[in-house]
């Protein structure tokens, strides 16, 4: 009978990525609720040492599945290897991070079992012996509770940030078991991964955005905001009037006629929050608004608000951030 939870740990360039630890946290949380053990699986070639490093987490076991064809990620290779592992372990749940890599092979893996993946989940909660998975739909406008049906295993991926990596329990020292896995024909040949020099500013990829609106009053005052953006390690952006005025180039514009962003932190300075602007940024995880007008609509969607003059707030904030980062 299928039992236990198998969690997939993803690595690139010799290191696990953070979302893998988040997935471990998710698997552990599910394990606690269902009173089931958690096994981690690492795929690779010559990566035994890396596999060893997650043995520190509270896990029943770490499986290191090896095959020379797994030296580079390919969907064919990973699907074959994982299929072998899943068939051997026979888990009830297979938990994975919802990364680009997992998205590439997990559906293929699940389809080998005649199933699909409950993808991009935010939560998993035990209920009546089963599990309810919650996932976001309609581009984040709605959440759905989903229950799996049919025979195990249940494949699920978790959104980045759904669980916190630092909450993954670490007190264990799990045994690392190396197994050889079968990998059939790999039809795709990867070339080395590379980074590109950014041509234009793609604000949609920025984690932190400091945006400025008409409250800045003049182009000469932008330096003030730039200093804050630098201190926070973020990108500078603006509402439409600023770009219309030519104070910042159009590729810095947020809103319906500019870019749509969903950064982790969005700092809106002197932006009142016209709808045209809000649609471009309201999905940010944390929104900070600084505005003189307490009634400004930007405050309706802000997590933190400071009612005040940005010329006073911004320098003070820059200073405070610098101090905390020291």
């Amino acid at each position: 009978m299928s039992k236990g939870i198998l969690v997939f740990a993803e690595h690139r360039a010799g290191a696990f990525n953070k979302t893998s630890f988040e997935a471990i946290a998710a698997a552990q949380s599910l394990g606690r609720e269902l009173q089931q053990t958690v096994t981690a699986v690492v795929l690779g070639a010559g990566m035994a040492n890396l596999a060893q490093t997650i043995a520190a987490y509270k896990l029943d076991k770490v499986l290191y599945a090896e095959n020379e064809k797994l030296a580079e990620y390919t969907p064919d290779g990973y699907a074959d290897a994982m299929e072998g592992v899943v068939r051997t372990i026979d888990p009830q749940y297979v938990v994975m991070p919802h990364t680009y890599l997992v998205r590439d092979f997990a559906p293929k893996l699940a389809s080998r079992f005649g199933k699909d993946v409950i993808s991009d989940c935010l939560r998993a909660t035990a209920s009546d012996g089963g599990v309810i998975f919650s996932r976001r739909i309609f581009l984040g406008k709605m959440d759905a509770d989903v229950i799996p049906s049919g025979e195990p295993p249940v494949f699920a991926t978790f959104q980045s940030g759904a669980y916190r990596a630092d909450q993954a329990a670490k007190d264990g020292s799990a045994a690392v078991e190396t197994i050889a896995v079968e990998v059939g024909e790999v039809r795709m040949q990867p070339e080395p991964a590379f980074q590109e020099v950014k041509q234009a500013v793609d604000l949609s990829k920025a984690d932190i955005i400091v945006a400025v609106g008409r409250g800045i009053k003049g182009q000469e005052n932008l330096a003030l905001v730039e200093q804050l953006a630098q201190a926070l390690g973020g990108e500078l952006a603006a509402s439409r009037p600023i770009c219309d005025a030519g104070w910042l180039p159009i590729d810095r514009q947020i809103g319906s006629s500019g870019q749509t962003v969903a950064p982790k932190l969005y700092v809106a300075l002197g932006i009142s929050g016209a709808i045209q602007h809000l649609v471009g940024m309201k999905n940010a995880t944390t929104i900070v608004a600084v505005n003189k007008d307490r009634e400004a609509p930007i405050f309706d969607i802000a997590d933190y608000g400071i009612v005040g003059d940005l010329f006073e707030v911004v320098p003070a904030l820059t200073e405070a951030v610098k101090k905390l980062k020291e």
């Binding site: 006629s257 016209a274 709808i275 609509p297």
Partner: protein, 592 residues
């Protein structure tokens, strides 16, 4: 579904005033084909993606950009839709063309540039150009390569266009016309390659010409306009400009026919253009009202705002209904006609409808713009938000293509002219109505099961009121009627509302027949509110006119008839408008 295809029946222009129509006889937006919807969508996407983001550049008078946008529009087929395939166009139907115009008008400035190109600047060539001229110019106009403009108005001749002073004389060798004069308010003048110019040959023969930009052609400074600042408007100065004889449009002395026919079409087009603007403004207004919070709630949840949104929607929807009903009639009248003259005649048939649409839609557009500013509150007054521009852009519509005053005069004027020529049986109908008014007993109120039965009765009565007022005026002033402008304004207003009421009822009934009464409920609400208010306006206008024309017993008799015609139980418009607003608020857009 509709296996039985209604035989295409030509509807006599102006006959709406004296005849009843069935829902299946009128064209409505629900009849758009899939292709027509797609064409509309292409136009919308083009404007929203290519034009809207660059309006600030257009407003900075970047006319190279205007040319570039026209070329892009040409590549998509958006310019050549009215030009036949023979001359490099697509020769599409009237409905497709109206839909293109409606959607292009989401940018008011570009719509003016575009309108000068596809309508007034090129249709004179389509209808009156020589074969050489058509071959020479139309394909490159359709592609957007050549930019064209229309030059009729002069400093001293606006509404009185035929008083133009510009002259044309035949060269001694008979190969060219030589033009001199100054034209005003010429759209596209700043970057046009050619102009359709009206000038008098031998001092009195008003004629149309194609004039290429070249020696002797110059333009004035850009006008500092209140709105549509992203369109070029300048004076055109012609000094001994030579244009070959094959660039004469139609015949010498027949320029008025060109100018006025083009205006007829232009008026319908202008109404359509207003509609596009209204839908966009309403869209912005609904979104803003949903997003803007005061007292902890979105302002769209307050009755005062709901009332505004609902009324904006009602006027937009009724306006759309009038437009496409008329476009449908024009399409039926022109679709199988090849010959240009016959086509023009078919369009001229609906001159009164075109004028009333121009008046109604341009005023509704201003109403919607004004309420948009109001809903935006302080932000409505700021140039950084869309309401301010929309408000300024809207205002021109009541002025160009014949002022609304001129067009109001034209509505009863055209109908009377058609009646005199025996094309419209207005006089017998008016006589029959007078008999009914004078007879002590009016026909019984026939009970009807159909939806909007009460409104239908009101619409019939509205037409009677219009006829009664017009009949009284015609009888009293006879040949001097045209001078009674105040009376004519009132008559025009009753006619406009009567047409609007009937159009709305017919469309709603058609929807109910096709989709069931439940599906038609939201349209029923709009139609009922509109009719409820329109009959009160009509009563006021008619009272005003009648009291100015007759007195004593005659006035008392007519006012008694007016009371009977306008008698109705007021509806609960508050609840109905609330429902209408909720449809918009829930959909977060203009969802009718």
């Amino acid at each position: 579904m509709s296996a039985v295809v209604e035989e295409k029946k030509l509807i006599v222009g102006g006959s709406f005033l004296i005849e009843e129509r069935r829902p299946e006889e009128v064209f409505t937006p629900e009849d758009f084909t899939e292709e027509q919807r797609m064409i509309a969508e292409t136009a919308r996407q083009f404007v929203d993606n290519e034009v809207q983001p660059r309006v600030p550049e257009l407003e900075n008078h970047d006319w190279e950009l205007s040319r570039e946008l026209l070329r892009k529009a040409g590549e998509l087929g958006l310019i050549g839709a009215k030009i036949s395939e023979e001359y490099g166009g697509l020769g599409l139907d009237q409905v497709s063309n109206a839909l293109i115009g409606e959607n292009i008008s989401r940018s008011a400035s570009f719509a003016v540039t575009y309108g000068a190109q596809v309508s007034i600047g090129s249709l004179p060539i389509v209808y009156f150009g020589t074969e050489e001229a058509k071959r020479k110019y139309l394909p490159r106009i359709a592609s957007g390569e050549l930019v064209t403009a229309y030059a009729l108005t002069e400093a001293g001749s606006g509404s009185d266009a035929l008083a133009a002073k510009a002259t044309a004389r035949l060269s001694e060798d008979g190969t060219h016309y030589i033009l001199n004069g100054e034209k005003m308010w010429i759209s596209n003048a700043g970057f046009a390659d050619m102009f359709v110019v009206f000038a008098k040959v031998d001092g009195d023969k008003f004629s149309g010409f194609i004039v290429e930009n070249g020696p002797g052609v110059s333009t004035g400074q850009e006008e500092h306009k209140m709105g549509i600042k992203g369109s070029s408007t300048r004076a055109l100065i012609l000094t001994d400009v030579r244009t070959p004889v094959e660039n004469l449009l139609g015949e010498v002395g027949k320029g008025a026919k060109i100018a006025f026919n083009i205006l007829n079409m232009g008026r319908l087009g202008l109404g359509t253009s207003c509609l596009g603007g209204m839908k966009l403004m309403l869209h912005h207004a609904v979104r803003y009202a949903n997003e803007r919070h005061q007292f902890g709630k979105p302002i769209s949840s307050f009755g005062a705002i709901k009332k505004k949104l609902a009324e904006m929607a009602i006027r937009t929807w009724v306006g759309e209904t009038m437009i496409y009903r008329t476009v449908g009639m024009v399409e039926t009248a022109t679709s199988d006609v090849e010959n240009s003259d016959a086509k023009l005649q078919a369009i001229e048939e609906y001159a009164a409808e075109c004028s009333l649409i121009k008046v109604a839609l341009s005023e509704d557009c201003d109403y919607v713009a004004d309420e948009m500013v109001q809903i935006y509150g302080g932000y409505g007054y700021s140039a950084d938000y869309p309401a301010e521009r929309a408000y300024r852009d809207s205002r021109i519509n009541r002025i160009f293509e014949g002022t609304n005053e001129i067009n109001r005069m034209l509505i009863p004027g055209t109908l009377m002219k058609r009646a005199m020529k025996g094309k419209l049986a207005l006089l017998p109908a008016a006589q029959a109505l007078m008999d009914e008014v004078m007879s002590p007993q009016l026909g019984g109120f026939d009970e009807e099961d159909e939806i909007l039965a009460a409104e239908q009765k009101l619409a019939q009565n509205a037409k009677k009121i219009a006829l009664m007022t017009l009949g009284t005026a015609a009888q009293k002033y006879m040949m001097n009627l045209a001078e009674q402008q105040e009376i004519l304004l009132n008559v025009a207003d009753t006619i406009i509302d009567a047409y609007a009421m009937e159009s709305a009822i017919l469309r709603t009934r058609k929807i109910a027949q096709a989709q069931g009464e439940d599906a038609a409920a939201r349209y029923t609400d709009m139609t009922r509110v509109f009719c409820n208010d329109a009959i009160q306006r009509i009563e006021a206008h008619a009272k005003d006119a009648l009291a100015a024309m007759v007195e004593g017993d005659e006035l008392r008799t007519l006012l008694a008839a007016l009371r009977r015609f306008t008698k109705h139980t007021p509806m609960n418009t508050v609840v109905a408008r609330g429902r209408i607003a909720d449809v918009l608020i829930n959909a977060n857009r203009y969802a009718y």
